[in-house]
Symmetry: C3
Subunit: 353 residues, 3 copies
């Protein structure tokens, strides 16, 4: 019901833009909300689609289609020639679910429970993957720096592209390996017991129709949002980087934030961890590499070379603090506060830098 | 008894300075010892004061007043226009207790016990806080670097100040959250069982009188020490940074070193961890932010932007090695040797750089 | 038997070089294989020698003599005036066993076993030592950067040498401490139960004769390999750094790769960990410091200042991912895939940078 009624938000941005002559900031904000709603519909349709297949194919579908709305927005921003804003959006998605989402969920869960626990084994895998994320996203920047300053100063942009393409392919392969691991060979350990039997299953045509319609809608909204980005940043006296890391990132994270808090209240911390940390990991190991490949196909190449040191620092900080907190298999309210605190402090730094 | 007799060291530095015309190096060394003794008295008085209140208020008092001597010395050094020496002093306090103090205690404890154990839960919190320290102290430097080199080269010193003030406020709030957590909501887990019933309780007037007198004394000594700093560094052929990181830092750490070794011999490793790691954390989350706020109030602003990469590296290294060693809830003599080894190696680097 | 027949590879490189006029690339490759074989013989002789002494002296012998072939090759490369290639070789040895060797062994072991386990206590020590490696190899670079850019720009190469010598001495002392710890005071915990009773013990004269002959042979081959290095790199269109990190490093790691896979098939994961991680640690804490000392004695000084940021990043990444994977005391096939993935991604970066 809630999901249906939220659809009313979708036509607001196009209406404001095409029917009224209104400052772009309103189009921007309405568009962000619209994409957020459509992203949630796309995920719902993908989950339903997965019920028509086995869990392994379903997992693959869910990963490749679940982030279509974020990808769409990023592609339109990229088409505006702003790769650094897309990098900021990727960073923002990682810290948005990994720090803010997880932190809020832990605090909400910690209000009623003195301590919440989850399987250490699952935490161990998430922890290793977070370190992989850290290495994968820092590596191209380090290699670029090395080539530029140390080994052969000069034009290295061509190399950056090849390096990014190869690293992206490797990350996607590793993610496929992870799916085989969690959905096939070690399925019992990672079963989250997420029950959606209560919901009515959609027929196949409905899944596909919703996917197509929501994707088309997301494209329209993304066009409006990316077009209004610079004007909105100016109106709010904010940098486009700050907009990317805090606001554009909401598109991919807002639905996760709500689910995480929802499951935390039901004391299902394992599921909360999978959603929040899993979402951060998916952004880094799937969304970012896909963007590199897609952007190269459309001839508007984006590399994996994050040039803003703050992006790299935020990703590294998230990996380390989440590892420290998830390492012992249990959480208390203060650990949630710590995560939110780190998010706030990073936000302050992005505001000033 | 020992504490009383150590008071005899306090008047030495003023006497040397005002009565005799003696090289400043002796005034400096005597002053350091004097502040060390007064710092211990201030902590004793604060602990006593805490017995007149509940544990929560007591904890808050102990945190805010316990480091008055260190703060005093840092403020005087700052008034001499040497913020980088204060940064070195902060770094030195962190590595002094976190590496040297903890290492010595573990070695001393390991001589008699094959292995010493402590509650993993407590270690988990310390570990998370150490990572917060790492993020908090590196972040301003990264943001400064970003603003200076990447986004808008030019004058960014004003921004550094605002950023440091906001981050400092956030850190102090997080530390208050930590006190609520350890002293109120999850008090049972963190009770150290530190018994001081044997000691006679001081009446309230005595606590306040000792606090006032010791603080005044520390101010006098700090004035002498900061005045003699540059001349002493020159006489010893050492940089002022090395003096800050190794010698000035002793003021805040010497008492902790003795307590840590003392409790290690009694096989109370949990308490040793709380003292050493807790002290490192407190310097980063309380002393450094307070210095930023105080220095701004007196119009001689110090930022949180640690400009010396070695300071940042030393803090990061301490956080990582302490995490690796404390992570499994037990220690052996070699782990203590490792901590001392890292301290020595860092000291060598500070000497050369 | 295998070991004996492999000896046939040793005379190939000298024959190719002195008897035929053949492109240097074939001499280079044959020389690498020859040194690899001799390195294995040197290790075998050292292990045999250790059986004539107690375990403590044996451990010391094994550490100091076991890496003679790698040291020899590095010294000849150094004599060619290429310290950065030696740095690459050191990095390559660390990631070669720590990532590739361990990863292959875990995958091979994971094919038959759903999960393999090992003592967490031993993992804890390896984890702490890896962090020490990280600190020790990054520190000189940070100190050099600090001195060069921040405190006193100018000629700092003399300081780098003194710093490297002192840090090397400290690392060697810490390694001796580690030997005392694992072979004397806490021997029971670290006993690997590696049985070599089946093999016939060599008499003392045979140990010494094999050591001397193999070392002399390694010197001859190393001379040929280092002489053919630049020409081979040019013929293969590769940088000498890439050659160092991927190919020269094989000399020290190839035997470990085979042993690790061998023991993984026997489900002896604890031993695999000791071999792979232990070998990485030994390269950093023994081979690198010894090279600094030896290179200084022969008047061709090499410092510990790794100037290639990718080297530092590869070492840091290895320490972090191995820690994340080994931390929980058990492994599955996907963790092995992750390690190999990180190795591949680092290799790609070394190729482009």
């Amino acid at each position: 019901m809630i999901r249906l009624s939220l659809l009313a938000l979708v036509p607001v941005a196009p209406a404001l833009h095409y029917l009224f002559s209104i400052p772009p900031i309103w189009v921007f904000l309405a568009g962000i909300l619209g994409i957020g709603v459509l992203a949630d519909w796309i995920r719902a349709a993908t989950d339903q689609l997965a019920r028509h297949t086995g869990p392994a194919v379903g997992g693959l579908l869910s990963v490749s289609l679940g982030s279509v709305a974020e990808l769409m927005l990023a592609m339109f921003v990229l088409a505006q020639g702003q790769p650094s804003v897309v990098h900021a959006q990727i960073t923002g998605s990682i810290i948005g679910t990994g720090l803010l989402g997880l932190g809020l969920a832990i605090v909400v869960g910690g209000v009623t429970q003195e301590r919440q626990t989850f399987k250490r084994e699952r935490a161990g895998l998430l922890s290793s993957l977070l370190i992989l994320v850290l290495i994968a996203l820092l590596l191209p920047a380090v290699a670029d720096f090395t080539a530029r300053r140390v080994t052969h100063p000069g034009n290295v942009s061509l190399n950056d592209e090849d390096l990014s393409l190869l690293v992206s392919a490797a990350l996607l392969l590793l993610y496929v390996g992870n799916l085989v691991y969690t959905l096939v060979t070690h399925r019992d350990v990672f079963a989250t017991g997420e029950a959606h039997e209560a919901e009515r299953a959609w027929p196949l045509w409905q899944c596909l129709a919703v996917l197509a319609a929501a994707t088309a809608g997301a494209a329209v909204e993304s066009d409006l949002v990316s077009g209004a980005l610079t004007a909105t940043a100016k109106a709010l006296h904010l940098s486009t980087l700050f907009m990317g890391v805090i606001i554009l990132a909401l598109v991919g994270t807002i639905a996760d934030l709500f689910s995480a808090v929802w499951f935390a209240r039901q004391d299902r911390l394992g599921l909360v961890m999978s959603i929040c940390i899993g979402s951060s990991i998916q952004v880094a190991l799937v969304v970012a590499p896909l963007l590199v490949l897609l952007s190269w196909l459309i001839g508007q190449p984006m590399t994996l070379v994050f040039e803003n040191p703050l992006d790299l620092f935020a990703i590294a900080g998230t990996a380390l603090i989440v590892n420290a907190i998830a390492g012992d298999g249990e959480t208390t309210w203060f650990e949630g506060v710590l995560l939110i605190g780190v998010y706030v402090v990073l936000g302050i730094a992005f505001f000033f830098a």
